[in-house]
């Protein structure tokens, strides 16, 4: 309803917001969907998770958060609501609404949630959907507040501020943490029910606390208005949860990779996977390096081999659990076929290359460029 009103009153600004934030969603989507390389989540379920975040969770959170903030003013005071209303109300309602999205995925497709990493992926997708729609709503709110009619400047300012500066440590991250808790609750049946519930509650509480810290008025006044002050606030309020959650994601990723690579190691067949490829398959950086090493022609062939090896690992684990439908043989054949193609290209083994000076230079240049763009954005917004 509100969206339709904005779109008809400010059509150019609405279109700009949809395009900019839609494009912003693409790299996040690719990164999140690539997290679980071995057992990729079905695209339909990722769409369901994203839609829950963007439609259901936002639709429930907008009235719910406003009501909770009003309750803070009524039961506390308007000053309390002005200072801490957004920090307390929004995280409480939004983290619950988003976590329910991961619960919905578990209820819809329990078989697809079989690792903590799956919970992380679905939680991050719910958070991503929420983040993109919330950003669009904020951008359109900024257009209305500016009172200059159908202009795109407020959309671009919102895009820089919410998309770039605060986008990294926003809902996608909080959703991933809560999703890890739900994943643990569902998957780790080797632990007692009390421990599993405890971990799930702790994870959701951690997402809530990270969100509260981010929304809190702490440091709002103490560091001035310059770009450096804004950077300091971002680092102090955003970096600790970011590092903590990325370490958790890394740990869940490595744990799953170790498990599946161990399945492949039992084969002892270098035509299916060599000793060096076992090490490569564990790491997304080394997998990417192996693809680059194969050159332009071999890039896709190596990717197909790696995906076939990953799929074979999953089928081997299912066979070990007596739930295989006979796919192990089919995926062995697929790996051999991809190996044959690579051998035909004089590239028999998909291994990563030692780091070259060009890669190092490229990384340094990209980092410098990113810092320059970030600094320009901080200066223009912080000095505004």
């Amino acid at each position: 309803m509100v969206g339709v009103r904005f779109a008809t009153t400010y059509p150019l600004a609405a279109l700009t917001a949809f395009v900019l934030f839609g494009l912003l969603a693409v790299p996040f989507w690719l990164f999140v969907s690539e997290l679980d390389f071995f057992e990729r989540e079905p695209a339909a379920l990722l769409v369901v998770a994203f839609s829950w975040g963007g439609l259901v969770a936002t639709a429930a959170s907008i009235p719910g958060s406003a009501a909770l903030e009003d309750l803070t003013a009524k039961l506390g005071s308007p000053s309390l609501a002005a200072g801490w209303g957004a920090a307390l109300a929004a995280p409480t309602v939004e983290e619950i609404a988003k976590t329910l999205g991961v619960v919905a995925i578990v209820l819809i497709a329990r078989a697809q949630v079989n690792s903590v990493l799956d919970g992380i992926v679905y939680g991050a997708m719910v958070g991503l959907g929420f983040q993109i729609v919330e950003d669009i709503v904020f951008a359109m709110g900024a257009v209305a507040l500016a009172g200059n009619g159908d202009h795109v400047q407020p959309v671009i300012a919102t895009f820089l501020l919410r998309g770039f500066l605060s986008g990294v440590w926003s809902h996608t991250l909080f959703g991933a943490l809560a999703g890890a808790g739900i994943g643990y609750l569902v998957v780790r049946t080797d632990r007692s029910r009390r421990v599993r519930f405890g971990v799930a509650v702790l994870a959701v509480a951690g997402a809530w606390a990270s969100h509260v810290l981010w929304n809190s008025p702490i440091l709002d006044d103490g560091l001035g208005n310059g770009g450096l002050a804004l950077l300091a606030v971002l680092v102090v309020k955003g970096l600790p949860p970011l590092v903590l959650i990325l370490l958790l994601v890394r740990s869940a990723h490595d744990r799953e990779a170790d498990y599946y690579v161990a399945q492949l190691a039992t084969l002892g067949d270098p035509e299916l996977i060599t000793e060096a490829e076992l090490g490569v398959l564990k790491s997304s950086a080394r997998r990417a390096s192996a693809r680059r090493r194969a050159g332009r022609r071999g890039f896709l062939a190596v990717r197909r081999l790696q995906r076939a090896q990953a799929r074979l690992a999953v089928e081997l684990s299912r066979a070990a659990g007596s739930v295989s439908d006979g796919s192990v043989g089919r995926w062995c054949d697929e790996v051999r076929e991809q190996r044959r193609i690579l051998v035909g290209m004089n590239h028999p083994e998909a291994i990563s290359a030692p780091r070259s000076w060009r890669q190092t230079a490229s990384t340094v240049a990209t980092t410098v460029l990113a810092v320059a763009v970030l600094w320009a954005a901080l200066s223009s917004l912080g000095g505004a």
Binding site: P63, G64, D70, K74, L75, I96, L100, G147, N148
Partner: protein, 169 residues
């Protein structure tokens, strides 16, 4: 079922709980009320404070008074433009709302402390309204009053007297 109940609790339960509690608090009409950004106003006699529209702050703030069915809202925000730009911004926001349009011409006004402003009228579905805008000390002060025409006619003198007490000291 539990999932639907939980979502419904957030979307409908919290707003219902919010509506079940009173939002109005008494406010003294004989002393200045701090809106935000250092700006104060003396509320009109008989007004009550609506805490759902009141958010005081150091740099900005808002206050919502109610005189029966009439809403009297004041919003203070940092602003570095002219009075004309501020008035244009407020007029645009009013006319951007579906069914709302401006009425009559804009008049120059001033507060008792000497801050110059502009005021005008608008009309919307089933209600009329007045607006006033002031710019001083790096802040914009936007005043909007809305209600049924009869109620507005009865309360506007007291509200206009209150608006003249706006003080961005």
């Amino acid at each position: 079922m539990g999932l639907v109940t939980a979502i419904a609790g957030l979307a409908f339960g919290l707003p219902a709980l919010d509506r079940s509690l009173p939002s109005e608090q008494p406010v003294r009409a004989d002393q200045p009320y701090l809106i935000g950004g250092g700006v104060t106003v003396v509320p009109p006699p008989g007004a009550v404070l609506d805490v759902t529209g009141t958010r005081p702050g150091d740099e900005d703030g808002s206050v919502l008074f109610r005189l029966g069915p009439v809403r009297y809202s004041i919003v203070v925000q940092p602003f570095d433009g002219t009075l004309q730009a501020a008035a244009r911004r407020l007029r645009q926001r009013i006319t951007d709302t579906s069914g709302y349009q401006l009425t009559g011409s804009e008049l120059a006004v001033a507060t008792r402390s000497g801050v110059a402003g502009l005021q005008g009228g608008y009309t919307g579905p089933g209600r009329g309204g007045r607006y006033a805008v002031f710019v001083d000390g790096g802040h914009i002060i936007e005043v909007t009053v809305s209600g049924a025409d009869l109620d507005l006619g009865r309360t506007l003198p007291a509200i206009e007297a209150s608006t003249r007490t706006l003080d961005p000291s």
